[in-house]
């Protein structure tokens, strides 16, 4: 089906049903990506975008893990922090942009901060609610074997919460990709988001579409990495 659609699109573009300047043919887009790759532009833009995703996601997921773990394990921390974080979660991503630009400047730190924020919430939410919903019957088994504190967390709570945690990591990564677009559209001189703006400014639809396709491929690729890691760790479910 998708392959047929691409062929269909190619044919319609060739005969001129789709105007070439608005919706170029797939081969033209492929050629654009190829040209970008050959000139080195492609690596420059995808490299910086991937780096921002990596650092931002790592930062957001780490903070989300720490605060999620704290609120999931300590009821008092949950009561104090959770209502605040829940209300912050509802603020649309774009609404943070001016504030982050003001606080962190137009350089990398504001972009990474924004991506980290996007990654933070799903990781935090899934870990925190997952930990507070671990089957009390399994925790009791841990108690029967005299496990407390750290050992109880390591041997019972963490393995029990791992499936939810991975759901959080994957949706956190998804949001990181959404936020990187927002950040790079706002003000960047490099990156795939910048490439899109550049394509828009210079009226090259093929560059915009090439960026869209690269976003899709890279987003799917990074998600696949997490999925494979998760599947390895949660082997017991599928066996």
């Amino acid at each position: 089906m998708p392959a047929g659609g691409v062929v269909f699109w190619e044919v319609l573009s060739r005969v001129g049903v789709f105007p070439a300047n608005a919706l170029p043919a797939p081969t033209v887009i492929a050629q654009t990506i190829f040209d970008l790759a050959r000139s080195g532009e492609l690596w420059r833009h995808t490299g910086i975008t991937l780096w921002r995703i990596f650092v931002g996601f790592l930062l957001g997921a780490t903070v989300g893990t720490l605060i999620g773990g704290l609120t999931g394990h300590v009821t008092l921390a949950r009561k104090l922090l959770d209502p605040l974080l829940q209300s912050l979660r509802n603020i649309p991503s774009m609404a943070w942009v001016p504030l982050f630009l003001l606080w962190l400047g137009i350089q990398e730190s504001s972009k990474i901060g924004l991506i980290a924020l996007g990654a933070f919430f799903p990781v935090y939410l899934n870990l925190s609610s997952g930990m507070s919903h671990v089957d009390p019957k399994l925790i009791e088994v841990g108690k029967v074997y005299r496990l407390n504190g750290f050992h109880l967390i390591r041997r019972v709570i963490l393995p029990a919460v791992l499936p939810e945690y991975f759901v959080g990591l994957r949706s956190g990564l998804g949001l990181a990709w959404m936020f990187v677009v927002a950040a790079e559209l706002m003000g960047a001189s490099r990156g795939l988001g910048f490439l899109m703006i550049d394509g828009q400014m210079t009226g090259r639809a093929s560059v915009i579409l090439a960026s869209v396709i690269l976003f899709a491929v890279l987003g799917k690729g990074t998600d696949l990495i997490l999925e494979i890691v998760g599947r390895r760790l949660l082997r017991y479910k599928t066996q």
Partner: protein, 262 residues
């Protein structure tokens, strides 16, 4: 058997009472429970729901605090959970991310690797689960999972094995097979057993002594010696007499149904 070894007590329960309080009102769950259990004895505690039999078991396991009275395991008072008592719940409560082998090993972390492997192999074979060592709990039937739970509870060399309606969730045929298995394990290990059940026939088939409890407040109504040789015939006349007498404890003023037979 009871009576012969009162000086050799595995467990002493002395004047244990427990009250659950909620919103000002309080409920006597257990009142003045006294019980002596000898080493190697098989005790069944029988009672309807709400008679406190599970609470009593949880007190012995060290999971319930805030009760009056005292419980001694050998000479030492019970002050919390410990590896000297194994506990089997109604649900198997195996950790779903661990294999059969790893679940059995869950409580025994401080053995050298080779010794530990040998130890686990012994318990895998004891409960008849050879070739299933590497299976995960969700791949097992209810009866098999409960065998793993028994092996896990036994693997820490407990002096006392506590079983809280362990076969309650199994189908009738599996339950009978598991009762036979448990007796076989008991004859090999000679661990002192306390099994809580609401199944009178199960108690008659398994126990040296049956402790009958009645609810509100939870008290021990009667303790019955079961002087039947093992393996016991589930349809024997003496067994039927015993069942009738226990049945009367629960339904004193009611007609005993004629068809209450296996």
């Amino acid at each position: 058997m009871s009576g012969i070894a009162t000086h050799n007590n595995a467990l002493q329960v002395r004047s244990v009472s427990k009250t659950f309080g909620s919103n000002g009102s309080s409920l006597d769950v257990l009142r003045d429970i006294n019980l002596d259990i000898s080493d190697g004895e098989f005790i069944c505690v029988v009672g309807g729901s709400g008679c406190g039999k599970t609470t009593l078991l949880r007190i012995i396991a060290g999971l319930e605090r805030n009760y009056c009275g005292s419980v001694f395991l050998g000479d030492a008072p019970i002050q919390g959970p410990g590896l000297d008592r194994g506990l089997v719940f109604q649900e198997h409560r195996l950790l779903p991310w661990l294999t059969v082998e790893q679940n059995i090993a869950f409580g025994i972390s401080d053995l050298p690797a080779a010794e530990k492997a040998e130890h686990i192999r012994h318990y895998v074979e004891l409960v008849g689960l050879k070739d299933f060592e590497h299976s995960y709990p969700h791949q097992l039937s209810g009866g098999m999972a409960q065998r793993v739970a028994i092996a896990r509870a036994l693997a820490g060399y407990p002096r006392l094995l506590l079983l809280d309606e362990p076969f309650g969730a199994l189908d009738a045929l599996t339950r009978i097979r598991m009762q036979q298995e448990l007796l076989r394990i008991w004859s090999v290990q000679r661990t002192t057993m306390i099994l809580v059940t609401h199944d009178i026939d199960e108690a008659i088939y398994l126990a040296d002594r049956i402790v009958i409890m009645s609810p509100r407040p939870g008290t021990i109504k009667r303790v019955i010696d079961v002087d039947l040789l093992r393996p016991r015939d589930r349809t024997s006349y003496v067994g039927a007499q015993l069942r009738r007498s226990i049945y009367r404890e629960f339904f004193a003023n009611e007609e005993i149904p004629e068809d209450y037979e296996i």
